[in-house]
């Protein structure tokens, strides 16, 4: 097995793959990381020269034409906004700034900051014209933030490229939060992925084996701050303008990483009750929530491929809780090979 890491999209991309020799592996890595860099320089909202930054600068003034790939990216994002009733929303950027999460660890915004930010957030105000491939913001101050879906989009693109290049076994990992398992390691049922306990990530709550499937995780521990004993994390509920409370971690498995990436954020915001309604519309999807707070947590799962109680979390203060109405769906066939 060959292994290489590379910084991009504000994180570290790592690829493990099997190849006949180092020469072939190098060629595969070259293709993969070149594509990741290409997408990074296209979709970054930190780089002023990127295509997404150009759209962000211009779309409030006039419709901006973009290329089919970027248009597809925005269209998919808007589709998830629509299907999640705004729980997933790539226009959330102004809220991230107001809460200090764009380049920092966060702070509580003033009412004015918050009110101003909220006027510039809302996927409904992004007008797309598929015929002309134009993007227009109907409200000034809007911006597109690829954070909740960009890594998944890149992981899929790389998976497609590697597969087209003859790779049959690879693990593509974007900062551990968006993962795609291409095939499986030789003589294995799949690529082994452990889902950690949010409060102690050295311990695992579930271990899954993935084959031709993606997995994405969102957690409240990446960026957060404490105020008056309350934890404020970087994942916003765009509908309330405030960080989500009561959810520690969500993990979603789907065939495509762009879906699991968007859905892990959406599930975090929506919670399991309405989240499952959305998961049901995505072929081969399954989800795992860690709810509560660091003192009292419980796990909710839907179509999760393994018995969650059979893994290492059991000695802790967590307990498994599968509401009855989720169990009714467990007889349905599942997509993908797990």
């Amino acid at each position: 097995m060959f292994y290489r890491s590379h910084p991009a999209m504000g994180t570290i991309f790592t690829i493990c793959l099997y190849a006949v020799d180092r020469h072939q592996a190098d060629a595969d890595f070259e293709i993969a990381f070149e594509d990741i860099d290409r997408l990074d320089s296209t979709l970054s909202n930190y780089r002023p020269e990127s295509e997404l930054s150009r759209i962000n600068r211009t779309a409030a003034r006039e419709p901006v034409t973009t290329d089919p790939e970027v248009f597809d990216f925005i269209q998919r994002s808007m589709d998830y906004s629509h299907r999640s009733n705004g729980a997933f929303d790539i226009t959330v950027g102004p809220l991230m700034r107001a809460w200090g999460f764009f380049r920092g660890q966060g702070h509580y915004p003033s009412p004015t900051e918050l009110a101003n930010a909220r006027t510039s957030v809302g996927w409904q105000h992004v007008a797309l014209d598929p015929t002309l491939r134009t993007v227009r913001f109907e409200v000034p101050g809007m911006e597109l933030d690829p954070g909740g879906i960009g890594k998944g989009f890149a992981v899929d693109s790389v998976a497609d490229l590697l597969r087209a290049n003859g790779v049959t076994s690879a693990l593509i990992d974007a900062g551990s939060s968006s993962i795609y398992a291409l095939g499986a390691p030789p003589h294995e049922q799949g690529w082994k992925v452990q889902i950690p306990r949010p409060e102690d990530r050295t311990k695992s709550i579930s271990t899954v084996f993935l084959r031709d499937l993606s997995l994405s995780t969102s957690g409240n521990y990446e960026k957060f701050f404490w105020l008056n004993g309350k934890l404020y994390c970087h994942i916003m509920d765009p509908r309330t303008g405030e960080p989500v409370q009561g959810v520690l971690q969500t993990t979603v498995i789907t065939p495509r990483a762009v879906d699991s990436d968007a859905l892990s954020t959406a599930m975090f915001v929506m919670g399991p009750v309405s989240g499952v309604k959305l998961l049901k519309t995505v072929t081969g999807a399954s989800g795992l929530w860690v709810l509560g707070n660091l003192k009292a947590t419980h796990i909710v799962e839907w179509h999760w491929p393994v018995n969650v109680s059979g893994t290492a979390y059991a000695s802790g203060d967590m307990h498994r809780s599968i509401p009855r109405h989720f169990e009714a769906d467990r007889s349905k066939p599942r997509g993908g090979n797990i």
Binding site: A27, S41, N165
Partner: protein, 412 residues
Amino acid sequence: MMNRREFFGKTAGALAAVSVLSSAKNTFPVPPSDQINLGIIGPGSRGQSLMRAFLRVPGVRFAALCDVYEPRFAQARKITGEETPIYKDYRLLLDAKNLDAIVVSTPLSFHEEHVTASLESGRHVYGEKDMAKTVASCDHVYQAVKRNGKHYQLGTQYHYAPWFVEALQRIRAGKLGEITQIYAYWHRNNNWRRPVPDPKDKALERLINWRLYREFSGGLLAELGTHQILFALEVLGTLPESVIGTGGIDYWKDGREVPDNVQVVYRFPGGKILFFSSITTNRFEGMKICVYGTGGTIVLTEARGTAYYEPATKNSSVPEKLIVEHGIVTTASFRAEVPYTGPGETIRVPEDKNGSPDFLACQSFIDCVRNNRHPGADELSGWKSGVSVALGNQAIDSGEKVVFAEHAKLPG
């Protein structure tokens, strides 16, 4: 072993009878006056980047794709998002009636043939750098542009990078004083090789890694140095008088035919110097141009520009008498020559002018086509940088000083 020309010839011959390989019909309506239909010859890795950039310009559509390597068609169609008509013979692409302009991004040795034929077909041309492989070929392309009265834009995106534009304005306004030296680098730490699906297929290796083979390529100086050389020519405003150079295949001894490192020194009138280095074993310098003037320095990279102005030296107010009468006191001291850098001043780019160099270059070309404007990086820019590269390579190969006046004269 089949060489690339044979590969091209065989493929083109075998398929010459088939005008449009695609089963998809060209169903484009007659283009409205504001739509620009482009054809591309050579949608490889660089060509595909250009396609994405062009498709970000309103009203642009790719209406024809030409390549001799079959997988390129699917890759390029993925970018256009439609069943764009495909051709394996560029002459048949040029026969298509609905094309307004041609993008040529084929290997360097084919630029002369493809650009000239595109111009002769009455189309404007966006020609990937550099202009052509030899001085004579650059002459021919330059003459073809003049003869056909069509626009030719050299594909040097940094000419359009806002921080390069702003830096050039400052330099021309005298903010750096007199420019005496330009040091430019394009340093990488990789083998400069593209992956080949079947490494044992020698013809495919030469097709995909054409940059490594002399028959097609001008090596690092042509593929990377052109950007910096063109900028230096714009700063200094004249052709070099002479060039010396060195280079070799010293690290990547993998069958390549062009040097894996080159260093050239161009000497301009008045003793001004352009030094260019490209290596493939260390990327500390990356892509960088340092313009040194008597009043300061500007450093340009792929993403930004920074100005460092020399600190002003004030005349001493110490009276001569004091020194002469009292003398000076000797003591032990050592003061090394400390380079002045200071914090530098980032060259700010006006927000409405920012964007990726590729996009801005493509946008500018479409503006020239649509509004009959003359391109900034035009045939003269192409000729000057093209002959500078060709003679630089001659100096590297011969190990001797090459005098420009003996080899290059702008065609009348």
